[in-house]
Symmetry: C2
Subunit: 561 residues, 2 copies
């Protein structure tokens, strides 16, 4: 326990707004006596049950109510699950300075520009190693290796104690770029005692150690060396060091390189401008000019490694890409593994590539990808190095957090000092002592769908699920408001239920059922439209169920004339 200035005072609240129980949407709030530090504002990509949803944001309610208490925003690195929500946050509130390392700010700027909120953002560069004071928070930054450069691990000292927030990281003693995870620096602050460790759990279910990024260099080079035609390498656009390794191999093989995909072009522009990739000028050519080079002198670095439907790689696999028509003789390298949830999409892309006759090089058969997250033994190493008094695993589905907690027990942190939190949970640290608060903060999923933010809720998703599985049947009747006589209809139409010719006879029968149900309305039901609607829904629903074994959404509409 190392309070900021002499005696420990007050209570630091830590509010977990996302990323604990799901992958992505990382956002944590540190609050001390009415001053707030926001660490990361990420977004999450929808899971398959979030039908029709484009993106998922953290719930900003807690912050919305405390806008003027924010003293700073810290972004630990440039991945969407750590910065992707910021544009949306900026749209609805003014923020004090936003701090991050150079590359992160570069990537962020172009995103904020797309959202037209760049001018609302006061971006300020910090670096590791380095320090920053924000109100009651004294921050110290440490370089962490991750699948994007410039990732910050942060030591936070408040008047109530000390915290180490790892953000995403891996251990890689000899990384590309030669800036390893700063274990020496971390060890130094750890020597003074750290009250609370908040650690990345993403790969807690992976045994052993995560291999160095360097290990994929030679396999990638070998693929390019052996290829007789074009080589297309798909990887994350933000994986600058991966791209660097492709560029280095391409250079040695005398191949030009074209970047493909909007985010790849953006990130490479930023990375080149800021000096994060090194590539001779002659080597990079625009995608629409690669046709001018012999095919065995071309490498294309592309987006789409996750099988995203409109990405460059998906379009190529579907023979729908504007510039690049793949053919036998081309080699496609998937230099990535599917993020959980993307497995099927990636398999579809791979199938398409094979159908075209391209040679496909992908994990696990080829060693052309390593993770950016620490595996179990690495996590234990970090737990032991920091030796925190308290530990909270973050970033992951529940089982990742629970497994990370188990690792903490294994290295000797007592069970009651390891706290598995979930979204919306709050921690309190007082005099270096950490405990779970009774408080629960709004931290549900906020869905972005089209232009709407937050207007699609669980009721809409529930309806979409039924519509998706069973379809909808609409039944309209027009009724005389004087005597309840059926003036028009019943008209029955359906979507996603039965189709075309087969359905017409069925729908006729359905109409008869409704007609019959309405023919014996009781006197008091005639003027009660909700009663009529109920009758329609019931008779139609049971007819449909008996005949098809399905339960579509039934929409009875009664028109009054």
């Amino acid at each position: 326990m190392t309070p900021k200035k002499g005696k420990s005072t007050g209570c630091t609240k830590i509010v977990f707004l996302g990323g604990l129980g799901e992958i992505g949407r990382n956002m944590t709030i540190f609050e001390h006596e009415g001053k707030i530090l926001v660490v990361d504002v990420g977004l999450m990509f929808p899971t398959e049950e979030m039908l029709g949803v484009d993106l998922v944001l953290p719930d900003f309610t807690y912050l919305r109510q405390r806008q003027d208490q924010v003293v700073g925003v810290l972004l630990t690195h440039g991945h969407e699950d750590h910065i992707g929500g910021l544009a949306y946050l900026l749209k609805e509130m003014d923020l004090p300075p936003i701090y991050s390392a150079r590359l992160t700010l570069g990537i962020l700027s172009s995103k904020l520009e797309e959202h037209r909120v760049l001018d609302k953002a006061d971006l300020r560069e910090v670096a590791a190693p380095g320090t920053l004071s924000l109100g009651p928070f004294d921050l110290r930054f440490f370089n962490m290796v991750h699948s994007i450069p410039d990732c910050l691990g942060t030591h936070i000292t408040t008047p109530a104690g000390t915290i180490f927030y790892t953000s995403d990281y891996k251990l890689d003693p000899y990384p590309i770029g030669n800036r390893p995870t700063d274990l020496d620096g971390i060890g130094e602050v750890a020597a003074h005692g750290i009250d609370l460790l908040i650690g990345d759990s993403t790969n807690a279910d992976h045994p052993g150690h995560t291999p160095s990024e360097r290990t994929v260099g030679e396999p990638l080079h070998e693929v390019i060396r052996a290829a007789h035609g074009r080589v297309i390498v798909a990887c994350f656009a933000s994986n600058i060091h991966r791209v660097q390794q492709v560029l280095t191999a391409a250079e040695e093989e005398g191949r030009v390189v074209a970047f493909l995909g909007r985010s790849m072009l953006n990130n490479m522009r930023v990375a080149q401008e800021l000096g994060y990739v090194k590539v001779p000028e002659w080597m990079v050519v625009p995608i629409d000019q690669v046709g001018q080079y012999p095919e065995d002198k071309v490498v294309i670095v592309s987006t789409g490694s996750q099988g995203e439907p409109l990405s460059a790689l998906s379009l190529m696999a579907a023979r729908e890409h504007r510039w690049i028509q793949l053919h036998k003789g081309d080699t496609v390298v998937l230099s990535a593994t599917p993020i959980p949830g993307n497995e099927s999409a990636v398999r579809r892309v791979i199938d398409g590539l094979f159908r075209i006759g391209a040679k496909v090089v992908a994990p696990p058969l080829a060693k052309v990808h390593v993770s950016g997250h620490a595996a179990a033994e690495d996590l234990k190493h970090m737990l032991e190095l920091i030796g925190p008094n308290w530990f909270v695993p973050v970033h992951g589905e529940y089982h990742h957090l629970a497994l990370h907690a188990e690792l903490a027990h294994q290295v000797g942190i007592p069970e009651n000092h390891v706290i598995v939190m979930e979204d919306g949970n709050v921690l309190e640290m007082t005099d270096g002592v950490v405990r779970r608060s009774e408080e629960h903060v709004e931290a549900g999923f906020v869905f972005v769908d089209g232009l709407g933010i937050g207007d699609v809720g669980h009721e809409v998703l529930r309806d979409r699920r039924v519509l998706a599985d069973e379809g909808v049947v609409v039944c309209v009747v027009t009724i005389d408001s004087y005597n309840g006589e059926l003036l028009a209809g019943p008209d029955v139409i359906s979507r996603g239920f039965v189709f075309g010719d087969e359905s017409s006879e069925f729908l006729e029968e359905a109409k008869n059922q409704v007609r019959q149900a309405l023919s014996n309305l009781a006197e008091d039901e005639i003027s009660d439209y909700s009663a009529v609607r109920r009758k329609v829904r019931k008779s139609l629903g049971s007819f449909v169920w008996k005949r098809t074994g399905r339960r579509p959404i039934i929409l009875p509409i009664v028109m009054e004339v």
Copy 2:
């Protein structure tokens, strides 16, 4: 080339009805001069884009048109993707004798009984090693190791040549049950030359060798030995040898065993009756009586290893199971890996188990599962052993087939003798020479949804996709058939689009848009209801798009009074 009787005559057609380009739904037809042998009639579980579909069958059209030409049906083993379609086939046509090994027939019988078609099936037992003559087809059976006992590899001799159909298999020299894949027997027939090999490609993307089933025995035993509470092992109900290993371990630890889940109970009953599992009588207790034993004396063997929503394990993970309430101290073993497509469902189950506080033991951290399919090096071994003149990879998505084809090239089969087929493709074998036919046979997906078979087609699925992503907006107007005057409405209701309070104002505006669009109908449009519908759809659609950025299905309904 080893024709049946002296000189080679005629042409054998091989029609691939399923399983080439997707996982499951395996069905192959061998046809010689008007006589048909059907090998396997499998089903497939729907992929995520097959919204609301319960099961997927092969298209029986080709067979329907040739019912009286069928001389026999051969089922190679008891997995759903090889036998699950038979009940549906029996419902629509009479079949000649159905041949399979003892366990397969046992499992099949209880399925056919559920479908009430058992009395339509003439089931006949065959065994490996063994032979069978069916019209022009001389069959010879070989034992293949798989994740279910009694799997048949089949050597087929027709007057036009010889074929080896591996069915699903792995190489396991010392399997549980002591019946290895009969490499000696296969080698013997191969010595006479085999024209065409049709081989299982499921794990062609797995490098190396598939480990023996025996390797999971000790890890499973160790989990049971170490557990202080109940142990729940989830695995495939048909993985008899896996269950046997659990039973053996339980016996050594003096624990009783209860089976849980309908298919587990069914298969274990069959397997015990037929002698495929050995378990002392005292050990097996009904699930509702496990409460009478101390928790550290109980093992439960359960279904649900794939995260199926209503399976025993899913219900336990959701704290909704009738008999078993899990708690801290219980150990749950997932003795399986997710089949492609089930990854998310399995992760959800694991998350639920961790939330309960159960200890979860699962691959890859624990070595409690091995595959039932041969990996790349095993496949090469089989290709070399058989040394076929021609090779067709089957069972798998396209990339599995293509990778298996690559392995065949690697062991020396010339590229033009390796034929990658897809569903609906036809091969012709004449005088031992194999070639791809121009013929293409109907082999699309036939969807089972509720009681309907084949009535849900691609149009319905397309609508369901839009409904799922964007919802539906219905707009009803009632119009005077004399003068086109708007008598009632527009009434606008939606589902899966926007919800509740937020939507009412929006829907009011939408109605106004429609009212406005209908106010300036041209003279000739008034009596043209399709024109009115178009106006409604267009005005509403563009309003919705402009305001929400979404494109729900818009259903305009015009009622005439």
